[in-house]
Every structure is written in C-alpha cells, then in structure tokens.
Amino acid sequence: MMRQVFLVEDESLLVMVLEDMLPELGYEVVASAYSVDSALRTLEAHEPDLAILDVNLGGARSFPVADALAIRGIPFVFASGYGESILPDRHASALLVPKPYGRQELEAALAKLPPRRAVSP
C-alpha cells in the first residue's frame, strides 16, 4: 500500500507538481493545506503517514504544524528556501530539503523518514 502524504505548501504550482511526482515515487497525496490554520484543521480529519512542510506559509512560520505532527508521531520533512538556521531548536534535527528541489532530492529526503511512530492515545 502507498504511504500517504500530507502536503503543507502555499504555492499551488508546487502542490500540483508534487501531486504529479509523489505517486510516481510511490506516495499518495491524501490532503494539502496552504496555511497553518488550514493545516491544523486538516490534521484533525486525516491520519497521514508523513508530511512535507513548507517553512514559510504566506509569511507565517509553519512550526506549529510541525509541533502538531510531532505530537501525533507523524514524520515530516521541511521544504524551504531558507537554510537550516531558520529552524527553531526543537526542530533543529528535522530533515530539510532546500527549495527549489528536484525529484531526486525529494525522493532521497522522503526515504530517510522513519515510519510513523505509534502514539498511545
């Protein structure tokens, strides 16, 4: 079964590209969100296996979404035009694919993600 991906990205073109690319890499896009609020709402209704998280969502940082993913045990990779220095301490060890990224970079980053961690209810 294909692993289910949650996209948090405010550029629709990137979402479109990822929607084309991810199935070819063996992933299924189950949901996408363009803002922190919509991402947090979407997470209430979905149980993705992993997430791709843009750091800058229309000027806001996506770290609250990263926190929510971490609490749920959902592994994620940051995508950003900033360097890793932008990440706060609590996410400093998270994976980051620099933008703009190609198919290989994305594939390599996603392959490094651990399986979803079981979280006791």
Binding site: D10, E11, S12, L13, L14, V15, M16, V17, E19, D20, S32, Y34, S35, S38, N56, G58, G59, S80, G81, Y82, I86, P98, K99, P100, Y101, G102
Partner: protein, 463 residues
C-alpha cells in the same frame, strides 16, 4: 627699646648685610622697599632689570614718578596705605611690561616693616613672575571647559571606571540612562542582559588583562526595567608610573541600529524566500508545461508567456510594496497578451478590490491561462468573439466573498478538451488552493465559463 649696637654686633650686622645683598641680587624674584611716602628706598637687581633702570634713576621715586600707569600707581598707593594701617600683608597679582621680556603677570606680597618702636616704618615687597603658571592654569581651565563642553554636547554617555571596574561614575552626555551624573556608584555585571553577559564580561576581562581598549555591544538594564542596546568603549588612563589610574569610556545607544539590522535581516530572509519560491514556481510551471505539451515550439512559447505573466505580476506587487494589488489591474495585466490596442471585445467591470500577493499571483496566472486558451481555441480566436469579466462582493458571514465571473461568447462551438491541460489544472486545482475558494470551470458549447468564489479577509475589501 633695643640696646645700642656693640662693635661685635656691627661686624656681624655688616656680614649679614653682605649676605642679604648677595641673596637679593641673586634671586629671580623682585624685592623692594617703599618708605611711608611710597617712594622706593630699595630695589634689587631683578626689579631694576624689569624696569630697565639703574638704581640712581629709581631711587626715591614713587611708582607714578617711574612711569607706572596712573591706575596701577594708585592701586599700589592704596595697598601700601592699607598695609600700614592694618599692619598685615596683602597679596595680589597684576600684569606689567617688563623692559626686555614684554608683558608678564606678577604675583606680589606687600608686608609691613616694623621699626624698633613697633610702628610700621616701611613696606617691603616681593614679586614673582607667574606668567608661565598663569598660562598653564588658563590652558588647563580652557582644556577642562572644552572637555566639559564635549561631554555635555555628546549624544553618548561618558563614564569613568575605577581600575578594578567595581565603581562607575557617569561623567556626562545625555544618552542611554537618566542615572545621576557625577556620582560614584557601584557597578555589577547584573546590569548586563543575561544573554550578553558572558560575552561582555569576556571583553572586559580581556581589556583589563591586556590594558587595551575595551569594546562591546550588549543590552543593559534601564531604571524602568527595560533593556537597551548599547555599544560601549573604554580606554585605560595611565598614571605617571605606568599603572592604570582609571578607565574612561563612552556608551552609545544603538537600540535603533540593532532594530534596523534585525529588520534588514528579516528583509533579506523574506527576499530569499521569495526568490526561492519564485524559482520553485518557475520550475513547476516548466515541468508542468513540458508534461502536458508535446510540441516543442509551442511549449517554449507557453513557458515564455507564462513567465511574462509571473514577472509582470511581481512588478505590480513590487510597485505596491507587496501589500497587495487592485483586482482590475490584475485582470488587465493577465489579459496583456490579448489587449492589443483594440479592446472592444472585453467587457470588464467590478468594484475596487485589493488582493494579497499570493492571491494576486494565483489569479493573474489563472486569468492568463483563460485568456491564452480563448485566443487559441475560444472566443478570442475570431473577430466577433467577446469576453465578459465581471466581479462583485457578497456578504459571507462576518467577512466578504469575492465572486469573479469569466464568460466567453461569439466564438466557435466549444468542445471539452480531450485531456486536462496545465491551464485547466491551474484553474481548478491551483486557484482553489491559492484562493481558498471554489472554482467552477465549464466548457459550455456557447463559450467557456469560469466562476471563482473566494472568501476575502475583511481588509481586502476596500470600500
């Protein structure tokens, strides 16, 4: 009453006289005696040299008779009278013209000479040339005044520190703090912000160890409890023996500068983000176009015109300082390729609405796709074709909703496309994502219709 002089005493008196004469001839100070009629009855060689006279020319003359200015002579007359009357010395200073040295400043003492009967029988005087000392004093005073003016005029805070830096005195300057000036107070590292403390203390230690100038940028606590950024400098002041007697320094309030630098850093970050995002958009757009368009030349043309639209939208947003863009302008810009002078085919109307940058880019790209599709297959491929773009605002709960309607007419009969192209996907998928709304695209036989509905934050609906 004194006993008469014995011969023995006489010899001794003569010896004493020679001794005194020798001393008086050798001293650089001026020594003289006035009688009670204010006439010179003695003047030593130094005084004669000052006058440029021989004793015979001066003997028995008063100051006035020797050519002193009347006010000067009168001043000495008065002083002599007072010494006689009070039987006490007086001291004063006065400028006078030396015969060879020019104008000099003299400090003098008049003292009473008592006769055997205890009455004042003459007034003796000694005068010292204090020109150099006066000049030094004046220079020092001027230098102190100048220093004080610099300190007071300074927009820095000027301070002194004792050699071990445990005590601080704010000398002047109106910067940084309203703590009192000119009073010694204890200084402790607690005044430095905890995050900056280690760094600042290291800089201080280094300066004290090496006796080299100290420099540090850190936050200090104000009396109000707020933190303010300062740049602090201090240099050691050495005593004659080479030891450090104190440190002297200045602190500048750099809060504004630090804020400005932080702002610049954020701007650079933001610019970096935009550039990278734009590159990602271009990358996506190119790969999408190549994926859906098999004809090479057509793909190149499509990519070029799509890039032009993105670039033009960025120009427009830059012009608006990235706060947003008026919808009418977005429409006109997106239709740019088609708006070739004659625009009677276009019916465009709607209220003034400003869209945020993300929505502006999304909508201009979407409209561009509609326009380019109409040019190739739809209403704009024939002369009599028309495009109607109307938009309006609807109430939507607490906010407003933008409805934009694209309607083609007068073109050839429309057939739904065999496969979903980039433009269609951008409209349906992209616009929905970026506008957070609903997109309804219909390939009706009489013409393409597209309706976009998007909630607007309160701010964007300009009245």
């Amino acid at each position: 009453m004194d006993t008469p002089l014995e011969p023995q005493d006489h010899i001794e008196a003569n010896a004493r006289l020679r001794l005194y004469e020798t001393i008086l001839a050798a001293v650089p100070d001026l020594v003289y005696v006035f009688d009670l009629q204010h006439r010179f009855i003695y003047a030593n060689p130094a005084l004669l040299a000052m006058w440029g006279l021989e004793w015979e020319q001066a003997q028995g003359r008063t100051c006035l008779e020797l050519g002193y200015e009347p006010w000067h002579a009168a001043m000495h007359d008065d002083e002599i009278e007072r010494v006689v009357a009070t039987r006490a010395p007086i001291r004063n200073d006065v400028p006078f013209h030396h015969s060879t040295l020019g104008w000099r400043v003299y400090d003098y003492i008049f003292i009473p000479v008592f006769g055997p009967d205890g009455e004042v029988e003459a007034v003796a005087g000694t005068t010292r040339d204090v020109t150099e000392r006066k000049q030094q004093e004046d220079a020092l005073r001027r230098s102190e005044q100048r220093l004080s003016a610099i300190v007071n005029a300074s927009s820095d805070l000027i301070f002194r520190l004792c050699p071990d830096w445990r005590e601080l005195e704010l000398v002047g300057g109106d910067a940084v703090t309203d703590l009192p000036r000119g009073r010694r107070m204890g200084w402790s590292p607690e005044r430095i912000h905890p995050e900056d403390r280690t760094r600042a203390l290291e800089a201080m230690q280094r300066a004290r160890d090496t006796l080299t100038p100290y420099r540090s940028q850190h936050r200090v606590a104000l009396r109000s409890g707020e933190w303010t950024w300062i740049e602090s400098r201090a240099v050691p002041v050495h005593a004659r023996d080479g030891s450090v007697s104190e440190w002297f320094g200045a602190a500048t309030d750099i809060t504004e500068r630090v804020r400005h630098e932080e702002h610049l850093r954020l701007m650079v970050d933001e610019l970096n983000h935009r550039v990278k995002n734009t590159l990602a958009i271009v990358q996506s757009m190119v790969s999408q176009t190549l994926r859906t368009c098999s004809d090479h030349d057509q793909a190149v043309a499509l990519i070029e015109s799509r890039l032009r639209t993105v670039a033009a939208t960025h120009d427009m947003l830059t012009h608006e300082k990235w706060t947003g863009a008026p919808l009418a302008q977005i429409v006109r810009l997106a239709m740019g390729d088609c708006l070739d002078g004659d625009s009677t085919w276009l019916d465009m109307q709607g209220p003034a609405v400003s869209l945020d940058p993300r929505r502006a880019v999304a909508l201009s790209m979407a409209l561009h796709e509609l326009c380019s599709n109409a040019t190739r297959h739809g209403a704009l491929s024939v002369p009599q074709g028309r495009v109607r773009i109307h938009w309006w605002l609807e109430r939507d709960g607490d906010g407003a909703r933008l409805v934009l309607d694209w309607q083609e007419s007068g073109g050839p009969v429309v057939h739904p496309p065999a496969r979903v192209g980039f433009g269609t996907r951008l409209l349906q998928r992209g616009l929905q994502h970026d506008m957070a709304g609903k997109v309804d695209l219909a390939f009706l036989p009489e013409g393409v219709r597209c309706r976009v509905e998007a909630p607007l934050p309160e701010l964007q609906a300009t009245p």
